[in-house]
C-alpha cells in the first residue's frame, strides 16, 4: 500500500485548486484520483463562456478555466490517476479505488480532501407521469453528448426546469439547429442566472413558462410529445391550462445534489440542508483530517467560488499534515429569516482570521438587510438591493468579533418579499 500526505478525491475544479493550494502550503506528497479520462471535471463539457469573471476578470470557457488549474497541477508535478474510481474512504483515511490499469488498490493518506462534485437530480426523483420512451435526458447528459462526444441527442426539444444547465442547453441545441419549444419552470421565478435567461432564451425567442410543469410524456419507442400545464400555489396542475408540444427530446434541469456516497463510507456527518458535509470554517468535516470543498459540499453557481473554497480546504489539509489536529473552540451558525442554509456550520474560534459565510435565501427579497446576530447582538449587517435563491450570498465575519462570541450566529435576510 502506498502512502501519501494528502489524497484528493475528484480532479474537477475543486480537487485541482485544493491540490495546488496544499502544495503551495508546504505538502508535496499529493495524489489526485479522477474517475474520468481527463482532469477538469464538469468544466470540460461546459464550453460556454462566463467562467472566471470574479477570479481572472475575464470571461473564459469551462475548458479554458480548467486548463489554468490543470497546468498548475502539472507544473508542480502533483501526481494524479485518471480513469480511477474511488470505491470507499475509511475514517482512518484509507482510500480504496479501482482502475483498468491498477485493478483494485488501497492508498493511505494523512489527510483526505473530498471533492467529488454533484450530480443531477433525475426524472425518477420527480416522478413525472407518462411513458418511458428514449429521448429523455438530464440537461448535463445532453451537454456531454453535444460538447464532448459531438452528436445531437434530438432535434425538437422541451426543457423542464430553468436551472442554468437547462438554459445553456436551450441555446446550445438551438445553435446546433434544434428547435427548443419551451422551458417550463414550476416555481414563479427562474433558478438560473439573469444573464442566461436573456442570452440563452430571449436571444432566440424561446418561451419560458413560469409556474408550469410537464404533466405527461408521450411516445412508445421515442418521445413524441409532452403536455405541460400551469400549477397552482400548491404546485398542483390546473385543469384546462394544458398545452401540447410535439417533440422528440425532453431535457431535465431540475437541480443538483452533492454526491456524498464516499463521505458516508468515511462516517462524515452530513447536513440535511446542504446535503453536503457539516464543516468548520477551514472545511474540515466531522472526521479529523477529512476535508470537503466544491459542489460535494454545497452546490455553487460560480466556479470562481469553488476554487476559492477549495483553496481553503487544500491549505487546511496541508496545515493538518504539518501541524496535526488542533484544539477547537466551536461556535455554530444557524439559519434566520428567509435563509435556507449557512456554511460553514461550525467556526473554530481559536483559528483566528476572518470567515466568509456562504448562504442562500428561500425567495426573492428586495431592498433587504443581510444580518448576522449572536444573542441578539448584531455582528455585521449590510443593505442589499436584491437577494435571489439562484445566487449564493456571502457575509464576511471578522475574526476580532468572532473571538468574543458565545452562542449561535444566526444569519437572516429581511426586506420586501412578493
Amino acid at each position: 500500500m502506498r502512502n501519501y500526505d494528502i489524497i484528493i478525491i475528484g480532479g474537477g475544479p475543486a480537487g485541482l485548486a485544493a491540490a495546488i493550494s496544499a502544495y503551495d502550503n508546504g505538502v508535496k506528497s499529493i495524489l489526485i484520483l479522477e474517475r474520468e479520462a481527463q482532469l477538469g471535471g464538469i468544466l470540460n463539457q461546459c464550453i460556454h463562456n462566463g467562467f472566471g469573471l470574479a477570479r481572472f476578470k475575464e470571461s473564459l470557457t469551462g475548458p479554458e478555466y480548467a486548463e489554468r488549474f490543470i497546468v498548475g497541477v502539472k507544473e508542480r508535478g502533483i501526481e494524479y490517476l485518471t480513469e480511477t474510481t474511488v470505491l470507499s474512504v475509511s475514517n482512518d483515511k484509507k482510500v480504496t479505488a479501482i482502475s483498468a490499469e491498477n485493478g483494485v488498490f488501497t492508498v493511505e493518506g494523512k489527510a483526505v480532501v473530498l471533492s467529488m462534485g454533484c450530480r443531477e437530480r433525475s426524472r425518477g426523483a420527480l416522478n413525472v407521469a407518462g411513458t418511458r420512451p428514449a429521448g429523455v435526458y438530464s440537461a448535463g447528459t445532453a451537454q456531454k453528448y453535444v460538447n464532448i462526444l459531438g452528436y445531437m441527442p434530438g432535434r425538437s426539444v422541451v426543457i423542464l426546469g430553468s436551472g442554468d444547465i437547462g438554459l445553456i442547453m436551450a441555446r446550445r441545441m438551438t445553435l446546433e439547429g434544434a428547435k427548443v419549444h419551451a422551458v417550463c419552470e414550476i416555481m414563479p421565478h427562474s433558478s438560473g442566472l439573469k444573464r442566461n435567461i436573456v442570452q440563452c432564451l430571449d436571444d432566440f425567442d424561446i418561451p419560458l413558462y413560469l409556474n408550469h410543469t410537464i404533466v405527461n410524456i408521450e411516445g412508445k419507442e421515442r418521445v413524441q410529445g409532452v403536455t405541460i400545464a400551469q400549477v397552482d400555489a400548491n404546485k398542483k396542475p390546473i385543469k384546462g391550462t394544458e398545452k401540447h408540444f410535439d417533440c422528440d427530446t425532453v431535457l431535465f434541469s431540475v437541480g443538483l445534489i452533492p454526491e456524498n456516497e464516499l463521505s458516508k463510507t468515511a462516517g462524515v456527518n452530513l447536513s440535511p440542508r446542504t446535503k453536503g458535509a457539516i464543516v468548520y470554517e477551514n472545511r474540515e468535516t466531522s472526521v479529523d483530517g477529512i476535508f470537503a470543498c466544491g459542489n460535494v459540499l454545497q452546490v455553487h453557481d460560480l466556479v470562481d467560488f469553488v476554487s476559492e473554497e477549495a483553496e481553503i480546504a487544500g491549505k487546511s489539509a496541508a496545515e493538518y499534515v504539518l501541524n496535526g489536529a488542533t484544539e477547537k473552540e466551536v461556535i455554530e451558525t444557524d439559519c434566520g429569516a428567509n435563509v435556507t442554509y449557512v456554511l460553514p456550520q461550525k467556526i473554530n474560534k481559536n483559528a483566528g482570521g476572518n470567515v466568509k459565510a456562504f448562504f442562500r435565501v428561500s425567495k426573492v427579497i428586495k431592498n433587504c438587510t443581510v444580518k448576522a446576530e449572536c444573542n441578539g447582538e448584531v455582528i455585521i449587517s449590510r443593505k442589499k438591493k436584491i437577494a435571489v435563491p439562484g445566487e449564493m450570498e456571502t457575509l464576511l465575519l471578522l475574526g476580532d468579533k468572532l473571538k468574543g462570541l458565545n452562542g449561535k450566529i444566526t444569519v437572516s435576510v429581511e426586506g420586501e418579499t412578493e
Binding site: 464550453i47 445553435l175 446546433e176 439573469k194 438591493k385 435571489v388
Partner: protein, 114 residues
Amino acid sequence: MKKELTCVECPMGCRITVLLEDNKVIGVEGNTCARGKMYAENEVFDPKRVVTSTVKLSCGGVLPVKTDRPVSKKDMFSVMKVINGACCKAPVKTGDVIIENVFGANIISAKTVE
C-alpha cells in the same frame, strides 16, 4: 421609438426602456443604476455575443472553440455554419486560431489537445 430589454448587469434584472429618435438614444428609463444605462445603450443598436461551439477533430472527438471577440447577434447562425464546416488536427493549443476572420472574429481553440 421605444425598445424594451432586460438588464443582465446584476440579479435585479431591471426592465429597461430605451427611447430612440433618428437612431440616437434620447432616453433610458427603468434602470436603477449607471451600469444599467450603459448596458442598454450598447445593447440597443448592435447587440454582440461571443459564440462558443465545437470543431470536429480529425483524430476523433471534438475541440471546444470560441470567437475571440463578440460578433453581432444577428450573425450567430452564420458563424455556426462556418464552424460546423471546419475540421482541425491535433496537436492544438488554447488560443490557436482555427478559422480566420469569420464575421470580424477569429475562431480560436479553447483547449489544448496533445
